[in-house]
Symmetry: C2
Subunit: 222 residues, 2 copies
């Protein structure tokens, strides 16, 4: 297994903190990023309290991104574009994994927002052309990520992107979450389907009072 | 189990014929609809040749719809709106299940088309306000449906709609395909996510030379 230096932008939110916990638990080095370095450090301490020997620290988003090989965007869609644009310098030249879900909620339930750039991942790619964007980790639920189970082994991580090498990083990082490789779902444009699929899972969760997950059958994997 | 009288509009296409085969195999009465009653009858004979005692016949789309309790729209998206409008009379008052996938293909692979009405299912609902629309059966692959396996038991049928009673029909009809109830994925609007998800599966199929399927974990079912 390759050990990665991962920055999680939005690392104090439930999805970012949950993913960071999974990666730290399985041997990666993680820096949580937040607007406030102090809040990021507090979240890092919640993880180190749970994982013996975890290498997790907190920093501002810009400092976190600057020091990492792989940067994960785990921020709300609201404000996403401005935040990504502000990080264009530290993101340049890096593998950037977006798990951003542009969702709205109304009395009919959750729904996928119209995203002018097609998807959050494509928008980030357009805002930071020197970064290599991958879409992944949209569907794993935050409470499950933060739970005690060794792996979320009934779920799959779907990965999309236009660069095979960058996709391979996300496919490998999925192992720390689900116990197996992520599924290569194709080009970055497929993020237009992956991102709003989260609305389907949230809708199912409401009906069945459960935490649903998506798994893909018929895919041979390590 | 309730035995349904099902009309499959577009019943000579691979998806429609495959679903009809599954329903006939598990005891439902099916009428395949096509523009040509003769071609519909030929497709029906292909099913009766495979299933002892199958109650499957062929008819024009309008005649098939007129005689059924449940009408399944399994037509290409190209021409969908005109066809549905032309069937407004026989569809009125019925449970109508749309498994239409509005997809495009280019050198980047498959993608979800922009549908003016949001989704094919919502468009059909707008065109025939007296019908009760449900979206379901978008993701099961045609070759698997036409295969020999008793059930596609690694896959789930996701069902959406605004009428619980109509959704319950599709949830029950899923049993003939996957061996278990379909998953209630929420309101009809969720068809905006279900329909283009097929692009993700086709994209995965190309990468892995496989027939992928979607299953939903964490949902308690009969």
């Amino acid at each position: 297994m390759t050990t990665y230096d991962i920055a999680v932008i939005g690392g104090t939110g439930p999805q970012g903190k949950g993913l960071a916990y999974r990666w730290a638990r399985h041997g990666h080095r993680v820096v949580l990023g937040s607007r406030s370095a102090e809040r990021a450090q507090e979240a890092a301490e919640q993880i180190t309290a749970r994982v013996d020997g975890a290498d997790v620290t907190g920093a501002t988003n810009a400092d976190a991104a600057a020091g990492a090989d792989v940067v994960v965007l785990a921020v709300p869609y609201d404000g996403h574009d401005d935040l990504v644009a502000s990080l264009a310098g530290p993101l340049a030249g890096k593998t950037v994994i977006s798990c951003v879900n542009p969702l709205g909620f109304d009395k009919q339930g959750p729904y996928g927002l119209d995203v002018p750039g097609g998807s959050a991942a494509e928008t980030a790619a357009a805002l930071v052309p020197d970064a290599t964007l991958v879409g992944a980790f949209h569907h794993v639920s935050a409470p499950s990520l933060w739970g005690d189970a060794e792996y979320l082994d009934h779920e799959d991580v779907l990965v999309c992107g236009d660069d095979q090498e960058a996709k391979a990083v996300a496919i490998e990082l999925a192992r720390a979450v689900t116990s197996r490789d992520g599924v290569d779902a194709g080009r970055l444009r497929i993020a237009r389907q992956l991102e709003p699929w989260t609305a389907v899972l949230i809708s199912i969760n409401k009906r069945y009072k459960t935490r649903s997950g998506t798994s893909i059958s018929g895919v041979p994997r390590s």
